[in-house]
């Protein structure tokens, strides 16, 4: 009984972290107008920065701020490329390449070994509680604050927002910063609860992609993306409970394929033909 309870508790914690990670990708991708794999670099970079600064709360704050700064730079670069004719597919390739650069720079600096933040850091910050608080705060900000309303308006129609005199570029940079910062928080909490290593970038990116695409199928809203992430966490935990071996990436990849295939889009040439 206690084993099952521990399993459910572990699954709930995983679901919270996934919701946080998926929200970060959602905001960063909304800002950059393509699925932003590069944001995964904030997830792995932040724990290493915090570790370099002695695993203190101050180190964590610096790591989150650094991730936000990287997010703003990435958003500027992606806007520049889009203005110069880069298509969504090319931006996606740039995003994956940027993620690979960061991942390998970390491998060069620290080796591809797992790290965990020290126990006093964990005791101070309570990763699961903090993840829950951040998720609730994010939902509240999305619903009730001016920044949230601007973000939702950007999601509906950037053109409409621009016609109302809102500086769309600034909103996008703010969103990218928030997305990268959320992923940095996710990375810090993940490293406090378990282990993080540079090669996790792709796995985290795929988790974000599944939640992003499944979420978009159900209304393209933050809550939908969070729920999709929670569902994905549940599916992975259930899979690991019933099946032997490490099938986690297969499950994520298959879910991504299924989501992409089921997604309805009028721009599909096949749809046009039929």
């Amino acid at each position: 009984m206690s084993g099952a309870f521990l399993y459910i508790a572990g699954a709930s914690a995983t679901a919270l972290f996934y919701a946080l990670v998926a929200s970060g990708f959602f905001l960063a991708s909304l800002a950059t107008r393509h699925f932003c794999f590069a944001a995964a670099s904030a997830f792995v970079l932040a724990p290493y920065i915090a570790l370099g600064l002695g695993s203190t709360a101050l180190g964590a704050v610096v790591a989150v701020l650094a991730a936000a700064a990287v997010g703003s730079l990435y958003c500027l670069a992606s806007t520049y490329l889009a203005k110069h004719g880069a298509r969504e597919g090319q931006l996606l390739i740039v995003s994956i390449a940027a993620m690979i650069v960061v991942e390998n720079m970390l491998v060069l600096s620290f080796g591809n070994v797992s790290i965990t933040l020290q126990r006093d850091f964990v005791a101070t910050l309570w990763p699961h509680t903090i993840a829950a608080v951040v998720v609730v705060l994010l939902l509240w900000a999305w619903r009730a604050t001016i920044a949230g309303k601007l973000s939702r308006a950007l999601l509906d129609s950037p053109l409409n927002l621009a016609l109302r005199g809102v500086p769309v570029a600034r909103v996008e940079i703010g969103l990218a910063m928030a997305g990268f910062a959320l992923l940095a928080v996710g990375g810090l909490l993940w490293a406090s609860d378990g282990r993080v290593k540079p090669s996790m970038c792709l796995e985290i990116g795929l988790i974000g992609a599944v939640a992003f695409i499944v979420g978009k199928m159900f209304g393209a809203r933050l809550v939908a993306v969070m729920l999709a992430a929670i569902g994905l966490a549940g599916a992975r935990v259930a899979l690991s409970y019933f099946v032997e071996g490490d099938w986690s990436m297969t499950a994520v990849a298959l879910l991504l394929l299924a989501a992409l295939t089921l997604r309805r889009d009028d721009r599909s040439t096949m749809a046009l033909r039929s």
């Binding site: 393509h34 699925f35 670069a77 520049y80 490329l81 110069h84 004719g85 880069a86 298509r87 969504e88 597919g89 090319q90 996606l92 390739i93 740039v94 994956i96 390449a97 940027a98 690979i100 650069v101 390998n104 720079m105 491998v107 060069l108 080796g111 792709l202 795929l206 992609a209 695409i213 071996g245 490490d246 099938w247 990436m249 297969t250 994520v252 990849a253 298959l254 991504l256 394929l257 992409l260 295939t261 997604r263 889009d265 721009r267 599909s268 040439t269 096949m270 046009l272 033909r273």
Partner: protein
């Protein structure tokens, strides 16, 4: 010619062939993706399984693997093409990583250790060279006939890419065009996969990972996406030369791999930022193929 020089030639040819096979759909068909690595995985593992586990001789194994890859790869490739244009890259990436993870978990295919002691022809290096040169000669000729000069198939593919509704209205069959391109892509990629496995002497899940995808995407964008298939040889040769330059630097052994990855990914970003169509890629204007075909 030293064995190492032959190895570099084989490497450049492998990358060029993967780039050609992918750019047929990416640059010419408007569907940039990494499905070639998936089909190369089918080829590599199919050959290793046939020779080592089933005990088939190498020549028969190549024939059987090519036919098997076509039987599985063409329907799968057409299914993936149902994804919308911007989702295609994500979808093929998911399929590639899913397949690698699947192989990683199947004891029949050796799991994480892969299949060892894969036989080739004469020495493994010469066997790999033979397969990749044959694939380059036959596949390159077929692709050049299809896409290297103006013809009905190329114009139809470009028309579908540039303006699908008007192409449908003109009676162009998207399925027929795509099927021919996908069949060529699958056969060439499977041959490259076999060549990789023969040169290495083993089939391993890590061989067909993300780094291979990034390598041939860099070769495509360096050579010129949508250009003549011959441009991919330039991109692949430059990439291999760059890798060798990094290797020649006086770096610790454990740094070379990650450093090569950083250089390659940075180069890909730089090419996409500064010259999106690559060194020899054409400027694409709206609707030129349609007017030419009409």
């Amino acid at each position: 010619m030293s064995a190492y020089a032959i190895y570099l030639v084989v490497l450049a040819l492998q990358l060029a062939m993967l780039a050609q096979a992918s750019d047929a759909l990416g640059g010419h068909g408007g569907r940039v993706g990494v499905s070639s690595v998936l089909f190369a995985t089918f080829g590599g593992y199919g050959y290793a399984f046939a020779t080592v586990v089933a005990g088939v001789d190498p020549a028969t194994a190549i024939l059987l693997t090519t036919l098997g890859a076509l039987a599985i790869g063409v329907p799968l490739g057409l299914l993936l093409l149902r994804l919308r244009e911007d989702d295609y890259l994500l979808g093929t990436l998911a399929a590639q990583l899913g397949a690698v993870e699947l192989i990683n978990n199947l004891p029949l295919l050796g799991g994480p250790l892969g299949i060892r002691n894969v036989p080739g022809f004469a020495s493994s290096l010469w066997g790999g060279l033979l397969v990749v040169v044959l694939a380059a000669a036959i596949g390159g000729y077929v692709l050049f006939r299809m896409l290297g000069r103006p013809n009905r198939l190329r114009e139809s593919l470009h028309w579908l890419r540039d303006d699908a509704p008007s192409a449908f209205a003109a009676g162009i069959s998207q399925r027929a065009v795509w099927m021919r391109v996908v069949a060529a892509q699958v056969a060439i990629s499977a041959a490259v996969g076999m060549s990789i496995v023969i040169v290495q002497g083993y089939a391993s899940p890590t061989t067909f990972g993300l780094s291979l995808s990034i390598a041939f995407l860099t070769a495509i964008y360096l050579g010129g996406t949508g250009a003549s298939p011959l441009a991919m040889y330039l991109g692949a040769a430059l990439l291999v030369a760059l890798g060798e330059f990094v290797r020649s630097l006086d770096l610790p052994a454990s740094w070379i791999g990650p450093f090569q990855q950083i250089v390659m990914a940075s180069l890909l970003i730089a090419v996409l930022a500064l010259r999106g169509r690559g060194l020899m890629g054409p400027k694409i204007e709206v609707g030129p193929s349609a007017s030419r075909l009409e």
